[in-house]
């Protein structure tokens, strides 16, 4: 597996086991009946605008974290784009057109996946679901289309692609900043329409996550740069 | 900001501003640069004279500015600082003239004169520092501004000298820094007071006071070239003549000696220091340095190295005067601060002229130089006699007081040290004079580095040398006058002893 001297293995193995032992011992000493924030979340559920507690925490109580997390995703794509010649997906190596059977199958599945992603997005309000799951499913649909050599993604111009990448992050920020005009802290949604705002943010996030996931997967393929070696 | 507060700042700023302006002056503008230099020097001289007149009439000049809580930047003019400020500004005036003449046509002079003015700013700041922290700030600033002067020529030899100079002064600065911080932790404000302020503190601190004293003295000893720490001085001779003149007569060495005077008188107080038994080791160290410096000077053939070792021993006179408990010996030490400056700068001026006009650098090459360059050698002789302690010239007054003080304080062996060092001074100065005046010229004179001129050397070089020689003669003859450095030294010494 690696050219390290066997003693290195032994040393690392013992260190790892010692670390595991210490961690396990501490886990044992953890209190078994902690208060946890479940009850607190329960009290505020009625004001959060969504029924599912995790979505409430993710998008309302700790919306700031989720917003920054979208930022992290965006930085990852920026990093990936560093190694591309252009800032978009246009000259990703186009896959050869799939055989008719695969082509037909993908034409059938892709809209279904879009439907499923819409459903997941809507379900987020009531049970586990939401922007990330829907975004990934939509991204998978795009990857499938790309694999089958479908020209749809090539039509995505550089500007639109970059706009779509940033739409989730910016909508979240604008929604949050909007209510600062009425002297509310950042990311405060009015109680009545909180649910709608969250839905709006989630849809924007879905699109940008879908494009990000597709870009990351397609961006990692060996593109033109295989041939020409940068110094 | 009344005038009393502004004056000390103006004195420091006058050379600092000229320095900065010269930095940004393009190389070819020689005349504007010399004009700026001279303007700065005269302005400083005038301001200092005003200050002397003010202090004489009892004015109080103080500029206080707090950088951090309990850490004040204070410029205060008392009699002791007056001594060094006048010396620095007078000698800087003449050294500037000399430097302008000496560096005619040499490369990057803007950089040289920029650092030259910064260096004098630092030495004036050292003189006028009101507390130990400001003293330390200017002390370290001095290192920074003198290093580029030492390495000015950029030759490998001068870089080596610069490296050695740097290591000594940096290490010294670090030791001094530890001492100052430790004292500040124990005692808080470190403002200088006439008879020292450490006596009032409880006896429990005396142990750490002793350690702090030695830290401070070692830190200052590097620049004052005490025995084990003097290594950088002879090596730094590789710098151009005005630099070695400025470094060894006015700026660096005096800062160290002045620091020792401040620490012993205005931080510890001389009686408190002798109660703690701190003075005797200092006396022993300084006496050893005096003898060691003179012995080493005997064997040096290179003229400037010989003068460097003589400086090593002469500066320790000041420290000796300070460390011997007694009014007259302190007067002797303090006044030697001025006298040694005047005499040593004359010697270096003459050494520079010899190198510049006849490219004579070694003592053996000086046979018969008296006939070739009578005026310069006359000035050299006056200063040499002063160094030995021959009566009319200034040196005699300080040695006389040192000897008297040693007798009064009941340390007769110090007289022995003074005698041996005087003999040794004679030992390494008289052969030069004899060779210069009475022996025939052996070697051919080297070519001159400057255009032919009416006298033996350009006026810009000759005039400062002659003037400083006359000054040292006059201060020697009129030592008793009301205005002489001796009177000033006596006034200072009177204040330092608890009535």
């Amino acid at each position: 597996m690696s050219r390290f001297h066997w003693s290195m293995h032994v040393v690392c193995a013992t260190a790892a086991t010692f670390l595991a032992a210490v961690l396990i011992y501490t886990v044992m000493t953890l209190p078994s009946e902690p208060a946890g924030l479940a009850r607190l979340v329960e009290d505020f559920m009625n004001v959060s605008g969504v029924e599912h507690p995790v979505t409430a925490v993710l998008l309302n109580f700790r919306g700031y974290d989720t917003w920054l997390e979208l930022g992290v995703l965006l930085v990852a794509v920026l990093g990936m784009l560093l190694f591309q010649r252009q800032n978009d997906l246009r000259q990703i190596v186009r896959m050869p057109a799939a055989e008719p059977v695969l082509d037909w199958l993908i034409r059938l599945i892709a809209p279904m996946m879009a439907l499923v992603s819409g459903y997941l997005l809507w379900m987020g309000k009531y049970s586990s679901g939401g922007a990330f799951q829907a975004g990934v499913v939509l991204g998978a649909a795009c990857v499938l289309l790309w694999l089958s050599g479908h020209p749809s993604l090539e039509s995505l111009s550089g500007r639109v692609f970059r706009f779509l990448l940033t739409v989730g992050f910016s909508v979240f920020m604008i929604a949050g900043a909007l209510f600062m005009l009425s002297k509310q802290p950042f990311l405060t949604y009015p109680v009545a329409t909180a649910g709608h705002w969250i839905l709006l943010i989630e849809t924007a996030a879905t699109f940008s996550i879908a494009v990000t996931v597709a870009a990351l997967i397609m961006g990692l393929q060996p593109t033109y740069s295989e041939t020409e070696d940068q110094p | 900001m009344t005038f009393n507060v502004l004056l000390p700042l103006l004195v420091v700023a006058s050379s600092f501003v000229t320095g900065l302006l010269i930095f940004f002056l393009p190389e070819h503008k020689a005349h504007t640069r010399s004009a700026l230099n001279m303007a700065g020097a005269t302005l400083k001289l005038v301001l200092v004279l005003i200050m002397c007149w003010g202090v004489y009439r009892g004015e109080m000049y103080e500029f206080r500015f707090s950088i951090v809580l309990g850490f004040d930047f204070v410029l205060k003019v008392d009699l002791l600082s007056l001594l060094l400020v006048t010396l620095s500004s007078v000698l800087w005036f003449f050294t500037t003239i000399y430097a302008i003449g000496y560096l005619e046509g040499s490369p990057n002079r803007s950089r040289f004169f920029g650092f030259f003015s910064l260096c004098v700013t630092a030495s004036v700041g050292v003189a006028m520092a009101g507390n130990l922290i400001t003293f330390f700030i200017f002390y370290e600033f001095l290192t920074l501004s003198t290093y580029p002067l030492v390495v000015h020529r950029g030759t490998e030899e001068s870089l080596q000298a610069g490296r050695k100079y740097l290591w000594y002064t940096m290490a010294g600065g670090a030791v001094l820094f530890v001492g100052v911080v430790w004292l500040h932790v124990l005692v808080g404000a470190l403002d200088f007071q006439e008879t020292g302020f450490l006596r009032a503190w409880p006896a429990s601190l005396h142990g750490s006071f002793t350690v702090i004293f030695f830290l401070l003295i070692i830190g200052l000893g590097v620049k004052a070239a005490l025995f084990p720490l003097h290594g950088w001085l002879p090596v730094a001779m590789v710098a151009p003549a005005p630099v070695s003149a400025l470094l060894h007569a006015v700026a660096v060495v005096k800062a160290g000696a002045f620091g020792i005077v401040r620490v012993v008188y205005d931080v510890f107080g001389v009686e408190f220091a002798s109660d703690l038994g701190l003075l005797t080791p200092l006396t022993i160290a300084t006496s050893f340095t005096i003898v060691y410096g003179s012995v080493r000077a005997l064997t040096q053939d290179d003229l400037k190295r010989r003068l460097a070792f003589s400086t090593v021993s002469q500066v320790s006179y000041i420290a000796l005067g300070v460390s011997v408990l007694g009014l007259t010996s302190s007067i002797g030490g303090l006044v030697h601060l001025v006298h040694q400056g005047l005499m040593k700068i004359t010697l270096f001026f003459c050494a520079g002229i010899y190198a510049e006009s006849l490219s004579v650098k070694t003592v053996s090459g000086m046979k018969g130089i008296g006939r070739r360059m009578p005026i310069t050698t006359a000035a050299f002789t006056i200063a040499a006699f002063g160094m030995i302690g021959v009566p009319p010239v200034a040196g005699f007054a300080s040695k006389w007081h040192l000897g008297l003080g040693a007798l009064e304080s009941g340390q007769p062996w110090v007289i022995g040290i003074l005698l041996t060092s005087t003999l040794l001074n004679a030992g390494y100065f008289l052969p030069i004079l004899y060779a210069a005046w009475f022996q025939e010229q052996e070697k051919e004179w080297g070519h001159a580095h400057h255009a032919p001129c009416r006298y033996e050397t350009p006026m810009l070089l000759l005039f400062p040398a002659v003037v400083t020689a006359l000054l040292s003669l006059l201060t020697g003859m009129f030592a008793g006058a009301g205005w002489s450095p001796l009177a000033l030294a006596r006034a200072i010494a009177l204040r330092e002893y608890v009535p």
């Binding site: 597996m1 670390l19 886990v27 479940a38 995790v54 989720t66 990093g79 295989e226 | -």
Partner: protein, 101 residues
């Protein structure tokens, strides 16, 4: 209670294995996979905290932390793979040349 202990302990073991893998692995892809295993261990421990006591529904805050953590780990891994790919293209070898961890 024992359900929490089971998951938490496995989480710790997986964390340690992942750490061992990161230190030992020389091939970049193995290192990145090991990093993900390590992340998996932490997330397993996080999720095991959520359902320790018998309330109406498990504590949603660790779940939210888990979701955010997973997405952050995903983006870091994606960037790491892109970087590893780039290193392979430029240097021709998929290991850090002077072989430290």
């Amino acid at each position: 209670m024992t359900m929490f202990l089971a998951y938490a302990v496995t989480g710790m073991i997986v964390f340690a294995i992942g750490l061992y893998g990161v230190v030992i692995a020389r091939h970049l892809l193995r290192k990145i996979i090991a990093l993900n295993i390590m992340a998996g261990g932490v997330f397993l421990f996080l999720i095991s905290i959520a359902a320790r006591n018998s309330q109406a529904f498990p504590d949603p805050v660790p779940q939210a932390m888990l979701l955010t953590g997973v997405v952050v780990a995903l983006s870091a891994t994606a960037f790491a793979i892109a970087l590893a790919r780039r290193i392979y293209t430029v240097t021709g070898s998929a290991t850090l040349s002077d072989g430290e961890r």
